[in-house]
Point group: C2
Chain length 614, copies 2
Amino acid sequence: MWDKIKHFIVGPPLPTQQYAYRRLSKIRALAAFSPDALSSIAYANQEIYLGLVVAGSVGLSYSLPIASAIIVLLAIVTVSYFQTIHAYPSGGGSYTVARENLGSITGLVAATALIIDYTLTAAVSLTAGAEAIASAFPQLWSFRVHISILVLFAITIINLRGLRETGTCMAIPVYLFLFTYLPMLAYGAVKVVIGERPLPTTGFTPQATQPLTLFLLLHTFSTGCTALTGIEAISNGVPAFHHPESKNAARTLVIMAMLMGVLFLGSIWLTDALDVAPGPQETILSALARRLLGSGPCYLAIQSFTMLILVVAANTSFADFPRVAAILANDHFLPHQLANLGDRLVFTNGIILLALVTGALIVGFAGVTHALIPLFAVGAFLAYTLSQLGMVVHWWRERGRGWVLKAILNGIGASATAIILFIVSISKFLEGAWVTILLMQILLIGFLRIRSHYRDVIEQLSLRDVPPPLLKRFPPLRVVIPIAGVNRATIDAISYAKSISNDVRAVYVELSPGEGRRIQEEWQRYQIDVPLVVLPSPYRSIVGPFLEYLDELDRKYDDGQLAAVVLPEWVPARWWHSLLHNQTARLIKDALLYRRRHHGFQRVIIDVPYHLQR
Amino acid sequence: MWDKIKHFIVGPPLPTQQYAYRRLSKIRALAAFSPDALSSIAYANQEIYLGLVVAGSVGLSYSLPIASAIIVLLAIVTVSYFQTIHAYPSGGGSYTVARENLGSITGLVAATALIIDYTLTAAVSLTAGAEAIASAFPQLWSFRVHISILVLFAITIINLRGLRETGTCMAIPVYLFLFTYLPMLAYGAVKVVIGERPLPTTGFTPQATQPLTLFLLLHTFSTGCTALTGIEAISNGVPAFHHPESKNAARTLVIMAMLMGVLFLGSIWLTDALDVAPGPQETILSALARRLLGSGPCYLAIQSFTMLILVVAANTSFADFPRVAAILANDHFLPHQLANLGDRLVFTNGIILLALVTGALIVGFAGVTHALIPLFAVGAFLAYTLSQLGMVVHWWRERGRGWVLKAILNGIGASATAIILFIVSISKFLEGAWVTILLMQILLIGFLRIRSHYRDVIEQLSLRDVPPPLLKRFPPLRVVIPIAGVNRATIDAISYAKSISNDVRAVYVELSPGEGRRIQEEWQRYQIDVPLVVLPSPYRSIVGPFLEYLDELDRKYDDGQLAAVVLPEWVPARWWHSLLHNQTARLIKDALLYRRRHHGFQRVIIDVPYHLQR
């Protein structure tokens, strides 16, 4: 039944051989990997506005210079990743590049940064999306958390259904956004150029509450740099492109970067030129759209598409997080379950893990994007820096044609992102960057401990230094049968026990006084020729006294062999029937399994199921 | 480790022999069983006010007559239960009385009513408590759900620690409430009697928005009857009193009823005489207290104590619900787990179940008492009616000294509560009583189906008609060993399998192509003299292909005997290590256990654990 539900939600399982064919065309790949990068204007603009407005109109006049600086940075980072895509056609995520060129610990640092970055991308995109739609419908403003969680749930299901479905489903909103937002910006540009002056601001003149300091500008710049998050996505996903993978991926990267530049700079410029100011429950982009289009259907369409592209931006994380987690799991740094290909050929466990953590972030931060942003950029820029540094080393090692130029280009990228990383860490440390920095350290230690556990297990299970003979000789077992009553299941278990041993005894743990005597009488009535031991249990535990009895028996014989346990277990006809029964057999099995025994023969646990028909 | 946490929260386990000694003195018993009854003035007053205020000042003038009618009813019900307590010294809950005198189905109907009533008592008391404290601190008004849930959590823990602790912890608030509320009413009475007239109402004159109809009066009367909920508690808990149980319990009942009467009638009369009117985020009792005491520390103390007694009222449910659930479980109408005495000699599972359902109600109804009330009284009055009817039959059957008088008294009680039940069901049907009525039917059907399941199980397991010989003869088993690799755990399992059978084979399910060949090579390298079968798995499932192989093997031999499975299971040194591993062994065991086999010998499942040291 559980299988049926699962198939209904995620679809029937797909055979492994289909795996290689599930790739994306450029149109679909742009939709799958770019939304994070494209949609980051939604929160980056907002952060620049909120960062500067405290310094009044003078402060806001710096928005265009800051945006221009970010665009220069965008160009540098794009060139860097262009090179990475060609150098690593099998997928050049920061983890791979940093590990191969800078050593495995540095690679791991990049991986922690990525893991955190992807999670925050999902959370920030969803909350910003909810804010975009709630700007248009003020009555939704207090339900932003609910909206985000609902959308998160939908995205999770879609991703569990598999990559191709993801591509189809996500392509439409991306292009809807582009084909409405770009014309709107063009319309605004025409308006400004043909000379429309700012309307008299309706009662709003931003008052400076803080002085315009260098720190304030740097702080705003660093929060604005969240506009750059998401460029990384394509370099990680190169193998998902059609052949020739690198070329297709690189072209898509360039198109994406150009679109980002136009959207970001265009909207900042128009906001500045038209003196746009948002209401109390509204984003700056919403205010811009309202200023240009009024509050009619065009405005509503723009806000809806902004929300939709932010939703598919969260999807970028769902495409990449499970992939990185699977790579780490294959390298034994994360639980192996994260590397399991699910029924639909996606990393099901990674998707579910991301959904849970993202949901916790949204609820924990009450759906407020502005509160999440300070945690955000540290991870992204650390990953960028390490990846570019790795590329410098890569070119230096390879020394192919034109390696010096390539190394210099990546070197510029590394320096630029390192500077941003420094600015971000310092200027947002107290606001939340410390959380990210601390978390990265915890993750790093966790990764290393997980790997050392896996190594321990392999070493302990290895046959390398087992002295011959490999196979031991098990003597016939002493058998103990815990019974809950005298019934058919008990009889089956006793029958089986007698077929493997001559030393069989049954044990009954008496929870309330008098029950033991009753069982003894039944035992005699049915003339079962196996001794029955009744154990008292003053604290009403069945497992405790039973285990003590086993220990006592082992001590008595003292031959290094442990008594085996044969469990009569009757199995209900329907799984939900088990809700109606004490799971004593299961408790005993678990207790036996997890009690540690280090010498001699093992304690064998033998389950003799008896199936009920109804 | 789990045990340590549990002991820290609920305390160390207590031996069964202590059970009989954990009883309550009258002072403690009053505190344990009366708060529900005493505190119901908090919501009954509020409901009467809300019911009448829609008919304006004229409507409100009916509050005193309605309250007086309810007091008459209180007296009738008290006399009825006084007789019940003496007739059933071992605990005369509605379920027991109705079942013994009116048949088991009627008893069950009473039980469903009680179960629902106790749950709603807990929910309503907690939300009303949160409203009482939020009336004093308006900034808490929007956090009423949080307050209720927090308190619910605390009550649950306290109850899990055991009955005596409950008594101590709950006695103080009850007496604090009584020793402040009664003096306040007395003070108010003096004020009114020495002639203080109502102050000119500050801008508040209740406007009639509905005509004053008979339906409105009946409706208000029926919601006001929630004041009577909780009288039942003592009759259910007679065995918890010191010797002589019945006498002590009956005295406590009379004292409780008198306190209820004074509190209820006193507060209604003062509210009426002083023309008290509440603010928008305030209860009527809060308004009364504020009117008498101002907004100073005395008022805050009264509101705090009102909240505290409502909290301990919720506790009444925690004392009674698990008890009734355990009785039903012992009669096979509810899962047997509800009858298990926990470590602290309380019905742990019942307490946890009540906490979960109450929490869901509070969250579902957003912590609004007024929304919960319509669901409430149906259950209580149905239980009262059936219990009193049962008593009439009881006296008629016994025909002891003065049985006619006793039967008449209980008959009056039954008629009165039946009338109320009728009024409540009709007047609040659409507002929510239908939910309760529907739920009661679902519960009733559930109870019957659960019992029929238990009967099925007993019948199927019974040895009564098993043909001799009782013990079967198991032939040596064919053994299949699913392996995940060639390691020490595998070797142990093979060793054991060879000790019980000459027909042993290992099976490896290949998830990715090429792995099977690698395992085969290792197999040959270590010269393991057992055949190894490699199974392909196109859909990456381990369990599926393995089970199919077993079936195939069984078909091949076709001797009615099923192949046994020996599982090599290596057990990690720490439980949390298992988070790092695919639980394949567990999946296989569960799949084998739950696959139904109806003929011949059973499929024996043999677990050979291999314990890792670190």
